[in-house]
């Protein structure tokens, strides 16, 4: 793993018809860190993540995993590569025909091919407890609040035992208090489980709370990549705009 990158995107381009979404995008994600990719809505943050995880194929460029191109992997290695990711979708994407228990058991049964029912039950209950949802296994996704859905989806993403967790706008649609609890969960995933986290967000306060590295995707390219401290000092107009528009002091609000 040269330069500590677990995943490295090299000169990646992707377009849909005439719409160029990503152009020569290069960025590395350091093993064990939380990297947050920020940018305006529709700038291709989710497209970048979907290229990394293999849902989309790039038009050009390469993706390296532990220094090796994923396009040079054989079928079995590529499957293992994809199974090293957990993905927390923006709307959680829990299977609504299954209850919470079956949702979390799904990767154990279908991916890891585990048949021991007692092991599955113990594992699922442990994960539910870890994300703060004990005793909710029998509930269906429709019976959960937005925050509970995110937690259940995180438990499902963890069930595959990933090395890297991808979060697609994890706090969108949640109130500030719930948002903070999700941020704390991301920090716990990183600190306690040692997982690399790649987060897509336009929640700047949350970004500064959790990020080891911040990247700005704008106009089809990565315009900035560095630590939060470097982000504050950087002379990148769009980044400045993002930061200044997101932090409002009490003095400015007035009475």
């Amino acid at each position: 793993m040269k330069n500590g990158y677990i995943v490295e995107v090299k000169k990646l381009s992707k377009s849909f018809g005439d719409n160029q979404v990503l152009n020569d995008v290069s960025i590395g994600f350091v093993d064990g860190e939380i990297s947050v990719v920020i940018g305006k809505s529709g700038t291709g943050k989710s497209v970048l993540i979907k290229n990394i995880i293999g849902i989309l194929k790039p038009d050009a460029g390469d993706i390296l995993y532990n220094g090796k191109s994923i396009y040079a992997l054989d079928t079995q290695e590529y499957t293992q590569y994809r199974q090293s990711f957990g993905y927390l979708f923006q709307e959680s994407a829990l299977f609504d025909s299954m209850n919470v228990f079956d949702n979390i058991a799904f990767p154990l049964v279908e991916v890891k091919k585990i048949k021991d029912k007692r092991y599955i039950e113990r594992f699922v209950n442990e994960k539910l407890e870890w994300v703060g949802l004990p005793g909710t296994g029998k509930l269906y996704p429709a019976e959960l609040s937005g925050g509970m859905k995110k937690r259940a989806a995180l438990a499902r993403a963890l069930a595959i035992s990933p090395q890297i967790l991808l979060f697609d706008e994890p706090t969108t649609g949640l109130d500030p208090v719930l948002s903070e609890s999700i941020d704390e969960l991301i920090l716990r995933v990183n600190n306690e489980l040692g997982l690399t986290c790649i987060v897509i967000s336009h929640d700047i306060p949350a970004t500064f709370r959790i990020a080891h590295k911040i990247a700005l995707l704008h106009d089809t390219r990565i315009q900035f990549h560095g630590t939060p401290r470097e982000a504050v000092a950087a002379d990148v107009p769009m980044l400045k705009k993002f930061i200044t528009n997101s932090f409002v002091s009490v003095d400015e609000v007035g009475d």
Binding site: R82, F85, Y87, A93, F95, D96, S97, V111, I160
Partner: protein
């Protein structure tokens, strides 16, 4: 025709080719996954219960009704020649060869085909299919294959039930209602209806089951964004399935008349 009209006509033609190409790729994908393990027997049985067992009441009611209506119409026609005794045979032949597989397929398109398209379409727009893909579980293998296999099993079984219940409807009207001789009714039925009539109808039903399930799941998979798109996919799935049933029925009837009867 204005330029705008020409352009939209061209787009429509190109769009049709694109849909046909995507359907072909989807079909190849379904055929590929049907023969690959793991074979999810529990999911298959659940789908057979949903498509087969749970559809039985609606198929039973419509088959009995068709048998009764058909018997009434035939009674007035055959009565002109004092040959009402042929009601059982006429209903039996038309049910086994044509009506039972056709009614079963149309009813199941409305009941289960629409549900397949809506279920998979909703999963598409809420990223549940993507979630499955990211876990390296192929949605075609997990969701579509059990539905296709269950349809290929259930459509013929329900068609067989429809044959019996259609004749039962004709019996109710002919024997119990119009007083036709019971043994004559069954004697003519036995004399005119051959096993080939039953087999060909069952084969038709299996083909319809395959077509309907593949078409409906295809439109579910290609749902665009939003709740409105789910409705559009469901409508397209039902209309296209019904049209394909007509076309496939004509082709198979023509083939069977030349090869079997």
């Amino acid at each position: 025709m204005s330029n705008g009209g020409t352009r939209s006509f061209k787009q429509m033609i190109l769009g049709s080719f694109e849909t046909a190409g995507n359907f072909f790729l989807f079909l190849v994908n379904v055929l590929k996954w049907i023969f690959r393990p793991p074979y999810r027997m529990r999911r298959l049985l659940a789908e057979v219960e949903k498509i087969g067992a749970n559809s039985f009441p609606v198929i039973a009611l419509s088959s009995i009704a068709i048998g009764m209506i058909f018997a009434l119409q035939l009674a007035s026609l055959l009565g002109l020649f004092r040959t009402e005794i042929l009601i059982g045979a006429a209903v039996g032949m038309t049910m086994t060869r044509e009506l039972a597989p056709f009614i079963t397929a149309i009813m199941l398109v409305a009941r289960d085909g629409s549900a397949m398209a809506a279920e998979i379409g909703t999963m598409k727009v809420t990223e549940q299919l993507d979630a499955m893909t990211t876990m390296t579980v192929d949605p075609v293998h997990f969701l579509v294959v059990p539905k296709v296999l269950a349809s290929v099993i259930s459509f013929p079984l329900l068609t067989a039930a429809s044959n019996v219940l259609g004749v039962f409807g004709a019996y109710v009207v002919g024997v119990l209602g119009l007083g036709i001789d019971k043994s004559g009714f069954f004697d003519q039925l036995y004399w005119f209806v051959d096993p080939d009539d039953v087999y060909t109808g069952i084969i038709k039903a299996a083909v319809f089951g395959f077509l309907v399930s593949v078409i409906c799941t295809f439109f579910g998979f290609h749902t665009q964004r939003g709740a409105k798109a789910v409705g559009e996919s469901t409508t397209k799935a039902v209309v296209t399935s019904a049209l394909f049933i007509f076309v496939a029925d004509y082709v198979m009837t023509d083939l069977m008349l030349k090869l079997v009867f």
